[in-house]
């Protein structure tokens, strides 16, 4: 999950120091945005080594061109967009939600009888089902949902990253969520929320 973005001021300072040639700023920038970039990268490209190389290249290019870079207000959007562009130029293009293995490994192997165990199992089931629903969406929908709810970009930022119209983004988000809702099992959700969020 991406870390909560720090307040705007310190990002601006960081970016300025970066442009000014401070290598430590480069390090801080890379460290801070690496989780976001990596997670996005492997959705688009799957091979971790290729993704890591691409991220290295990305930062190296930015560093080389640091004096010529624009004043960036939203660094994360800028980085994600640049990475997307970089990866889009490769021949393989995937949109991977996640491998089934990851979810399977989270499901308990044996049935358990204790309440907590049952809860966890249900929770995992829910996540797995949602995963299946999302996988059935179009690639574009999946990417928008990802950028919105994992990267926590707003519609305007998504529009920038994916280079599409902002209104299309907003429409697609509502439409997709409505679609998910129609298939989502509400009763179990309610049960879960009572157990997990005690009133």
């Amino acid at each position: 999950m991406p870390s909560t973005p720090p307040i705007v001021d310190s990002i601006t300072q960081l970016w300025h120091r970066f442009q000014g040639g401070d290598e430590r700023a480069l390090g801080e920038l890379a460290r801070q945005y690496y989780p976001s970039l990596y997670n996005y990268g492997i959705r688009l490209l799957t091979d971790p080594e290729t993704v890591k190389d691409a991220i290295q290249d990305l930062f190296m290019e930015l560093w080389r061109q640091r004096t010529a870079l624009p004043e960036v207000q939203f660094v994360r959007t800028y980085l994600l967009k640049s990475l997307r562009y970089k990866l889009s130029r490769r021949r393989q293009r995937y949109w991977l939600l996640d491998t089934d293995d990851l979810f399977e490994s989270q499901l308990p192997s044996q049935t358990c009888y204790e309440t907590q165990c049952i809860e966890e199992e249900e929770q995992n089931q829910q996540l797995y089902q949602l995963n299946q629903l999302i996988s059935a969406l179009s690639r574009r929908q999946q990417e928008i949902i990802y950028l919105r709810f994992f990267q926590e970009l707003d519609n305007a930022e998504i529009a920038q990253v994916m280079n599409i119209d902002k209104r299309s983004v907003a429409n697609l988000v509502s439409k997709t969520l409505a679609q998910l809702r129609a298939q989502w099992l509400y009763s179990s959700l309610l049960l879960l929320s009572r157990l997990v969020f005690p009133l």
Binding site: T4, P5, R43, K52, W63, A178, L190, V196
Partner: protein, 380 residues
Amino acid sequence: MLSDRLTSILSESMKAYRRYKADEFVADESFQRWQTGRSPQDTAFWEQWKLDNPDCLGELQRAERLLTSLRLQYPDDLTPATIEQETRKLVSWALESDQLTQPTRVRPLITPWRWAAAACVLVGLSVGGWYYQHQRPQRAISSPAPPTVAAGLQERVNNSAQPVNVLLSDGSLVVLGPKSRLSYPQRFGSPARAVYLTGEAFFEVVKNPARPFLVYTTQTVVKVLGTSFSVRADGASPVRVAVRTGRVSVYGRLDYETAQRAASRRVRGLVLTPNQQAIYSPAVDTWQRSLVEEPLRLESEAPSQRQTFEEAPVARILATLERSYGVDLVFDEEGLARCPLTTSFVEENLLERIDIVCQAIGASYEVLDGQIVITSQRCH
């Protein structure tokens, strides 16, 4: 404080929200900002709305749950260690390329994290810079051309009177002497790691038997697997290669490159063992072997190998290491001012020395952001 217009807009949306289903909340940007804690205004609004509309609580909770479930859909295998590693590679590279454009700024470039795995070897290479004057029939050399390497070559020129550190992409360190020049690829290609030297330099080569390290000079080629040696080729005296530890192969450049091109495994050269040295005569294209007369200590040598401490407070040992290697060490100066330690270092690299100290006092260390942070208990 709010204008009337703003108030009426707000109350409109407040009413609209009452009809919302979970997915509509989730689609709403303001709701998401509240849930992710990114906006005080949205938080204030929604907390209030929640209080004002208790009958909508169920739908709100379903929305929260859906939002969380969506976020959890995207695990990855990234570890903090990977982030650290990748970040450090980047910073090393930036420091290096920065030095290229500002050759007068000399900065220590030692990154211990690479050396932990290396049999640290000190190599002093000084290589002759004068051009090969003598010509043999059918073997004319006009100007030596470096063999192709993976990427374009970078060049570090040291015009100052102080040595300059150059960190290579495999973690090897070159201490480039005054009035010297080193050409090297940004990233080593395969299978060999090749650099080109004019002047004098000291090498600390990361051991890699699968990828021999080659130092080309105008006239010679020195091949290293991971050893300590020095080479002097400054144009004023004959090229000299002397070995401290390990084995080094030396060749005349023409012979080496001819053999390479012919894909021949047999190259006429010389293998030097510890305490041996060889001097190259370009006129006759031969090496003269002899014993090293005295231990080689160049001005541009990396920090002294041998360090002995007798009942020295750990804080002082660490301070000494810090000075010798030019790397920032972060440690509890007061807390470690009283533990005496007796130890001596001979060939260990910096990380190995710190490791030894830490083991002795039950401390741990970590490389963070270009510094080494040592965590210890106060000693009595």
